[in-house]
């Protein structure tokens, strides 16, 4: 073996060696809450983190550990903690770095629950957030304060698909001595690996492209191990005596693994949003084909963009691959294989036509998820934002004709037929409204 294995090989093999007793080729599901100690010394050694192993599945589990190690390998991280959801991954990241009185700088264009966590939940516990547009480099620089403990953003913003210039923001955060935390859910490591471009921590919702099957929720925190937590006294959660392990200083004791050790030893011990072993198994099955699926996602996305751009029932199309997207240049630079498989488009005829389209697709599924192997569609104007006026939607960066498409893996001809039929009906609704 020379060098590290490549993407698809890591996706299939990283983190798992078939066991000597049974030789199971697939990763076994260790559906157990707890593990029998060899003796009292072994038990004490596990609790002291003197040896590797498992104590209780809230803290770690053999099946979950394979998923964690595989994700760390794919992202280029030094360690990973898998969680019950992507939101849990974000919360445990904040918990590992921030305390009351601390501050976060975050992209303003991202998943609503992320914004709600920062704006409404963390603020109740004394952690404040300054929101900055993801491509406002000066804004990020200006927003960092002495008590800022992390800068956060999504590579591909949800739902607007704004692209964060991770390398440039990374230069700003490195100069300021603040870690850059990146949600890489929409790009996956197949399109872009943030740790290679200045990010220090990556989080994922595994529920989306990494699982790909829509059968298991999960999240992950991946530590790049590339941040100097001891450069000053800004990060006491990592450089002052830890309440466990005889008061050790995690930075001195575990070095590059200080942060991820804190996530496991505080986040999992004291909060406990653990991933179930069965969900880990399902997510591993997805991860094993991530490279192949992403190729197909991106190929279908290219076809879909062409289809929509030339369809008379579509008034506009938004995707970072398109030259008229404001972040097209940076998207092309960071993600030459394509900027993800989410497309936003406008259905001619507004809210009613959008509703008609959504209700008449047969192959695509109308639901609130993204990244599934199956094509998914949602129309915020008639679902999540149905109670909001067109003006209020516009202020939120949405329009009442907007349909979000998560392009799946179907034979594209079937998707085209399906969309043609649904758009024909939407067109009639639009015509009747006139």
């Amino acid at each position: 073996m020379s060098g590290d294995y490549k993407f698809n090989t890591l996706g299939l093999h990283a983190g798992h060696t078939p066991d000597a007793r049974f030789g199971s080729r697939a990763v076994p599901i260790h559906q157990t809450t707890s593990y029998v100690f060899q003796d009292t010394e072994h038990a004490a050694a596990l609790f002291n983190m003197e040896v590797g192993g498992h104590i209780y599945s809230r803290i770690s589990n053999p099946t979950v550990a394979v998923l964690e190690q595989r994700l760390a390998a794919l992202e280029g991280g030094i360690g990973c903690v898998a969680t019950s959801s992507g939101m849990a991954a974000l919360f445990l990241t904040v918990l590992g770095l921030c305390s009351a009185g601390d501050h976060i700088v975050s992209s303003s264009q991202m998943y609503g629950a992320n914004i709600n966590l920062f704006e409404h939940t963390l603020s109740r516990y004394g952690i404040s957030t300054t929101f900055v547009k993801p491509n406002d480099l000066a804004g990020f620089k200006d927003a960092i304060k002495p008590n800022t403990k992390m800068v956060f953003g999504e590579v591909i913003g949800n739902p607007g698909m704004d692209i964060m210039n991770v390398p440039e923001v990374g230069k700003i955060t490195a100069a300021a001595g603040v870690p850059l935390v990146i949600d890489a859910t929409f790009n996956t490591p197949w399109l872009f690996k943030p740790l290679e471009y200045g990010a220090n921590i990556v989080i994922h919702s595994l529920t989306k492209w990494i699982g790909g099957h829509g059968i298991a929720l999960g999240g992950a925190v991946i530590d790049g191990g590339n941040f100097d937590w001891g450069q000053n006294d800004r990060f006491p959660t990592l450089t002052e005596p830890h309440f466990g392990f005889q008061g050790v200083n995690l930075w001195e004791e575990f070095g590059p693994a200080a942060f991820i050790t804190r996530v496991r030893t505080e986040g999992m011990y004291n909060i406990g949003p653990c991933l179930s072993p069965t969900n880990a198994f399902h997510l591993i099955q997805g991860l094993e084909t991530l490279g192949l699926r992403m190729e197909r996602h991106m190929a279908n996305t290219v076809k879909m963009l062409d289809f929509l751009a030339n369809h008379e029932g579509i008034s506009w199309v938004k995707h970072p691959n398109l030259p008229d997207h404001p972040d097209h240049a940076i998207a092309k630079q960071l993600m030459p294989k394509g900027a993800g498989s989410i497309i936003a488009c406008g259905i001619k005829g507004g809210r009613d036509a959008g509703r008609a389209f959504i209700e008449n697709v047969q192959v695509a599924s109308h639901l609130a998820n993204v990244g599934d192997a199956k094509t998914l569609v949602i129309h915020p104007g008639s679902t999540t934002h149905s109670h909001i006026t067109p003006d209020a939607m516009k202020a939120a960066g949405l329009t009442d004709d907007l349909v979000r498409i998560s392009v799946g893996l179907e034979d594209f001809e079937d998707l085209a037929d399906d969309f043609n039929a649904a758009l024909r009906i939407a067109g009639k609704v639009a015509g009747a409204a006139k």
Partner: protein, 265 residues
């Protein structure tokens, strides 16, 4: 803990436990471009079992200040000075790779300070090819990547770690990258220039142990076995399938072998 050695702040990991110089001291010496973290799973294991653990960062490595030392002999003298600063009369010395060369030289030059010598994945000499030296001098990131690759065996390349969720290869790269620029080149140069291994081994009088990695690409087993012969170790431990970084790749086997040795020495 931190102490001053030769006027520079020196970091020493004590395995997460307070250090008592009057106890049974284990002194772990790290390899080229490494730090105390490459012995993390040994330090914590033995410190929690009553041994007094010292794993210093050599100057310019990890959390230690100062310029990197440039010869194995000087490194051995520096370690002896460190033991004096800490009021440690003698210790069981465990050397990994370059640390093994330092251990040999420490046992020759300061024999009274070495109660026992455990040589882990090392040899009497560690020649370094010019290509690696050149990379270490001019393209340190590439040298780190190459050494991390060569240094790991099957478990490392499969990213299969005994500590849940951790990654050998990427951790190894970050550990090495955290040292001062130039420290790796100084280490490798010191290894390449060191020719005193055979004489030092002949002069060693303390009990010795040799632990080798079967798949070691950096200090191959055959050279480790020659060292074992020179140290009159008749029962070297060879850990099947392990790579050069066996303290982190195979901590259970390494700790078991070390413990058996320490319990009788």
């Amino acid at each position: 803990m931190k102490v001053m050695v030769r006027g520079q702040e020196t970091f020493i990991s004590t395995g997460g436990r307070a250090f008592d110089a009057s106890g049974n001291v284990l002194l772990f010496l790290h390899g080229s471009g490494q730090s105390h973290l490459s012995f993390m799973l040994q330090g914590r294991f033995f410190a929690n079992r009553g041994w007094q653990v010292l794993t210093p960062n050599m100057p310019a490595h990890g959390l230690s200040e100062g310029a990197a030392l440039t010869s194995i002999e000087d490194m051995a003298d520096w370690v002896a000075e460190l033991l004096d600063v800490l009021n440690v009369a003698s210790a069981n010395v465990i050397g990994h790779s370059q640390g093994g060369l330092i251990g040999l030289e420490l046992a020759r030059r300061h024999s009274g300070k070495v109660k026992g010598l455990s040589q882990v994945a090392t040899a009497l000499a560690i020649p370094v090819n010019d290509a690696l030296l050149g990379m270490a001098e001019n393209k340190e990131v590439a040298a780190i990547a190459a050494m991390t690759d060569w240094g790991h065996g099957r478990d490392g390349h499969r990213h299969d770690h005994t500590m849940p969720g951790q990654d050998h290869m990427n951790y190894g790269k970050q550990l090495m990258a955290a040292n001062e620029t130039g420290a790796l080149f100084a280490d490798l140069t010191a290894c390449a220039n060191y020719a005193g291994g055979a004489d030092a081994a002949a002069a060693v009088t303390c009990p010795c142990q040799v632990i080798l990695a079967q798949k070691d690409k950096m200090t191959p087993v055959k050279f480790g076995l020659k060292m074992a012969q020179a140290l009159k170790v008749s029962d070297p431990v060879i850990i099947a399938g392990a790579g050069h970084m066996l303290p982190s790749e195979r901590p259970v086997e390494v700790n078991k072998a070390l413990r058996q040795f320490f319990e009788v020495n």
